[in-house]
């Protein structure tokens, strides 16, 4: 069980780590100051959640490592984030669309994880759920504001949704790890969350006057580590540079 639990914790922690890093790339570049601050704060919350998930993952792994070791010293093939989280920011609209599509998943899964039979998982979820609820409120508002906005903003948001939608399905894939955790009452089967997620996303997209693509195809490979996009390596180059160049550096 500890191997499956480790895998699960890496999936949760790598999602928030990689997305948090992506969002932090906006720091100092957002269209207005308020949005800049909002994105930096969102990234900070995601990083905090990473610390909790990967901190526990390192304990479960039992090799004396820390959350920092997992974040900075693993290579691309060991990362377990869904592909959605590593996609480039694109324009502001695509960043916020990606945020909403992830927030809606995060808030849904965290709701169930609060009842996890693993006490630590339940406690982390309880803490993270409050932050996720705040995030989804804002990202949903922004998707509606820009989707149902000007002709230009509407077109950009529809393009963002068309581009990102094929990456949504991966969040709801199930494999042996998920089934093992589901059987032991630690985490829900992701597949079982899809209907609830779709209901939320459909409601927001309808309000945003955006059309969800019909093609059911989705990309896979991130959460299993089978194959990430070419973008992950580039993120790691930046994110891990210091620890790679100066191993063990601290402040």
């Amino acid at each position: 069980m500890s191997e499956a639990l480790f895998e699960f914790l890496c999936r949760m922690g790598d999602n928030t780590l990689i997305l948090g890093h992506r969002v932090s790339e906006w720091c100092g570049h957002a269209p207005v100051l308020e949005e800049d601050i909002a994105l930096a704060n969102t990234a900070l919350d995601l990083l905090g959640q990473t610390q909790m998930w990967l901190g526990y993952a390192a304990e479960v792994q039992g090799e004396g490592k820390t959350a920092d070791d997992l974040a900075f010293l693993r290579d691309a093939w060991d990362f377990r984030n869904v592909l959605l989280c590593e996609l480039p920011n694109g324009d502001f609209g695509r960043t916020l669309m990606r945020q909403f599509l992830f927030d809606a998943f995060n808030v849904t899964v965290l709701g169930y994880l609060q009842n996890s039979k693993d006490r630590r998982v339940a406690e982390i979820a309880e803490k993270a759920a409050k932050e996720a609820a705040y995030h989804v409120e804002r990202s949903a508002d922004t998707v509606v504001g820009l989707g149902d906005g000007t002709e230009e903003s509407h077109a950009r948001m529809q393009a963002a949704l068309d581009y990102l939608w094929p990456y949504v399905g991966e969040m709801f894939d199930s494999d042996a790890v998920d089934l093992a955790l589901c059987e032991s009452g630690i985490a829900p089967d992701p597949k079982s969350l899809r209907a609830e997620y779709d209901a939320l996303v459909q409601r927001v997209m309808a309000e945003a006057t955006l059309t969800i693509p019909e093609d059911p195809f989705h990309h896979t490979g991130g959460r299993t580590g089978r194959m990430h996009t070419e973008h992950l390596g580039h993120i790691l180059c930046t994110m891990q540079w210091l620890q790679r160049a100066y191993p063990g550096a601290t402040w």
């Binding site: 909002a38 900070l44 919350d45 803490k127």
Partner: protein, 152 residues
Amino acid sequence: MRPEVAQIWAWLDTVPDPEIPVISLVDLGIIRDVAYEGETCVVTVTPTYSGCPATRIINLDIDTALRGHGLSQIELRQQLSPAWTTDWLSDKGRAKLEEYGIAPPQPAGGPARCPRCQSTHVEKLSQFGSTPCKAQWRCTDCLEPFDYFKCI
């Protein structure tokens, strides 16, 4: 002779929040427990936001303050559950926040009034602000922007 637990609470109530120095760590509601385990004084702290960078400074400040009062065996413990809520802000803390220019959290989800001119005509600028625990609002009468302590 070791100091009473109540005395330690009183000392902690003089340690300011590093980001919002007008309120104490006790006012903020993040000190969840103070107890002795043997001769070790165990202070249980819960984070406001999981990624709040002030958390480390807070731990350092607690340690420094208690050492300053002569304690040497101190252990800081982090507790995630129950998760911190702004309901734990003390009434004294709320009053001090408002006096300082930060509107205290309200269950309705927005500030009750402008902390400067008391007008109830206020609007949200951003759901986030200068620290993880605050949002940006503006008074539509005096036109001053102000911080609002997010209600979670």
